[in-house]
């Protein structure tokens, strides 16, 4: 379990992380989502004790990470930037990390096999491809057999095979009952693996919702093409309804479902050429949510719905 309270990090004038409070629950995959530069990596570095918070605190399993007797056993982390000496073999790298905590050599062999690096383990890590580097990073994270895993942008730059491998690994690790905290700027990736979402923008918490709630709350709209668009527009007007006109004969309606729009058109004798219900993808919902984070501070799913409509 990871608990952050009012976590804040300031670099000079720039507020990288601004008063973040969240809890990562054990036994599920929590996605840590936000556009590039929204403070995700800084937050993870503060969890791992690499950066000191300007204000606030963050604990792992009830204590600051650095205060655990065997930190590698509590949390395994794959940091975004590579954390491997290029001149050392993968095996020696893992052996040296394991040695700090008294993790036996056989565990090093286990993780090497688990991530499929057996054949290149004795080669210099500097010659590794991006995918092999990620595998080595994940092997380091798994060394202490930790109950909590933190992965910063694990699929970044990977080929489809590598992405699939990470996706399946995350699911398998979560199925073993581990706490998984994985950051990404790709909503679509999170939709496939995460149970819970913590969404940040410009260092601030935007939402802390389950994937199911987020999907339910995402925006629905109806697109209509009609030669009598202006007549229909007046007929549809209502307090909860917004209508936009992207082209002369096209309406985009928020706040009404397609059946209602069709019925109102028939009642007013308006001819329709197209009537298309449109559900925003999670990606669109995410982008809409983070496009102007100043406006969105809501953490409740109900507020999210309202926020979506206002936009």
């Amino acid at each position: 379990m990871i608990e952050a309270h009012g976590l804040t990090k300031r670099y000079g004038d720039k507020l990288a992380v601004d008063d973040l409070t969240f809890t990562v629950q054990p036994g599920m995959v929590t996605g840590f989502l936000g556009p590039n530069g929204s403070g995700k990596s800084t937050t993870i570095r503060m969890i791992m004790g690499l950066d000191a918070p300007t204000a606030g605190s963050v604990t792992v399993n009830g204590r600051p990470y650095a205060e655990h007797a065997a930190p590698l056993r509590e949390v395994g982390a794959l940091l975004e930037a590579r954390a491997i000496h290029t001149g050392r073999s993968a095996y020696s790298h893992l052996l040296a990390l394991a040695a700090t905590t008294g993790i036996p050599r056989r565990r090093v062999d286990e993780v090497v096999d688990q991530v499929g690096l057996r054949e290149v383990a004795r080669k210099r890590a500097g010659g590794f491809s991006l995918g092999m580097g990620q595998r080595l990073g994940i092997a380091s994270a798994l060394l202490g057999d930790p109950a909590t895993l933190i992965l910063d942008e694990p699929v970044n730059g990977l080929d489809p095979e590598g992405i699939l491998w990470i996706r399946n690994l995350l699911k398998a690790l979560a199925a073993e009952g581990r706490t998984i905290f994985v950051s990404s700027h790709l909503m679509s990736e999170m939709a496939l693996t995460a149970d819970q979402l913590i969404i940040v923008g410009r260092g601030r918490l935007i939402a802390d919702v389950s994937v199911a709630e987020f999907t339910r709350a995402s925006r629905h709209s109806v697109r209509v093409r009609s030669p009598q668009a202006s007549v229909l527009r007046d007929a549809l007007a209502g307090p909860e309804v917004t209508v936009s006109t992207p082209a002369l004969d096209v309406l985009e309606i928020d706040g009404l479902d397609s059946e209602t729009v069709g019925r109102i058109a028939a009642e007013h004798g308006v001819m329709l050429f197209e009537l298309v219900p449109h559900t925003a993808s999670l990606e669109e919902a995410f982008m809409e949510l983070t496009s102007d984070d100043v406006e969105f501070r809501a953490t409740e799913a109900a507020d999210l719905v309202g926020a979506g409509r206002r936009a």
Partner: protein
């Protein structure tokens, strides 16, 4: 209900923790597994020994024409240390800045988030490795050099006054230069910057000291780090240098200050 077995994992868990000894072991694995470490250390030894033998041979050749040695036979064979100090200093820098430049430091500090055990382990381990290698190299340079000089009966013996101190002192001086390099590496975290600073302290400061007015120079020059440290390598007392052990102690003192600054910064700064 199912019974959960907590006893077995708990017993191993008690054994799985970070200790200073284990961090030393980890640093030992790291040090051995980098080719650059081995090569730089070998270079330092080869320079000390090789130049010692070379200078002895040159001296013997010149002896045939001039009839006397221009330098005392001890200092002559230990002179390679002036070049070897650059190699061992660079090694001290690289052992830590190599971690910063590659990002390895994040893995290291994640495994040992209290950080200071890493600093102590690196310094302690390198102190032993550098001292053993450099003292051995100094003995090899001295004994090999004397073997060459003895053909002309101008050599010195380890039992002569001050000789043993000068030979061991040469190795100790080199080891402390390595530690100073490492401390600067921790402080500056950048290979080029740390090496430049180290060379500036060891080589440029004494040159700058020489331009000082004579009345100042005598109060400043002997106390400059490398001048003070090299006092232990000199066979005969020189009015312009500190006493051997006094000078060396001062050099160790400078290095200790650098280590103290490094410790404060390592603990305080973001990794």
């Amino acid at each position: 209900m199912t019974t959960t077995t907590v006893a077995a994992p708990d017993r191993t868990a008690r054994n799985i923790k970070v200790t200073q000894g284990r961090v030393v072991n980890s640093e030992w694995i790291k040090m051995r597994s980098l080719r650059s470490t081995r090569y730089t250390l070998i270079a330092s030894i080869a320079i000390t020994v090789g130049l010692g033998l070379l200078f002895a041979s040159f001296a013997v050749a010149r002896l045939n024409s001039t009839g006397h040695l221009e330098t005392d036979p001890v200092t002559l064979t230990l002179r390679g240390a002036f070049l070897a100090q650059l190699a061992i200093g660079v090694l001290g820098v690289l052992l830590i800045t190599g971690e910063y430049s590659t990002g390895m430091i994040r893995a290291t500090m994640s495994a040992v988030p209290r950080r200071l055990p890493v600093l102590w382990a690196k310094l302690g381990l390198f102190a032993v490795v550098a001292a053993v290698a450099s003292i051995a190299a100094a003995f090899a340079a001295f004994l090999g050099g004397q073997a060459i000089l003895s053909s002309k009966h101008v050599g010195a013996s380890l039992s002569d006054p001050g000789v043993l101190r000068a030979v061991i002192g040469t190795g100790l001086y080199l080891a402390v230069v390595g530690l100073l390099g490492m401390a600067l590496g921790f402080i500056i975290r950048n290979t080029a910057g740390a090496i430049t600073t180290l060379f500036g302290i060891l080589l440029i400061l004494p040159v700058l000291g020489e331009v000082l007015p004579a009345s100042w120079a005598s109060h400043v020059v002997p106390y400059l780090p490398s001048n003070a440290g090299q006092a232990i390598m000199q066979l005969h007392a020189d009015p312009n240098t500190l006493a051997p052990w006094t000078g060396f102690a001062l050099f160790v003192g400078y290095t200790a200050v650098a280590v103290a600054v490094a410790a404060v910064l390592v603990k305080r700064r973001d990794a």
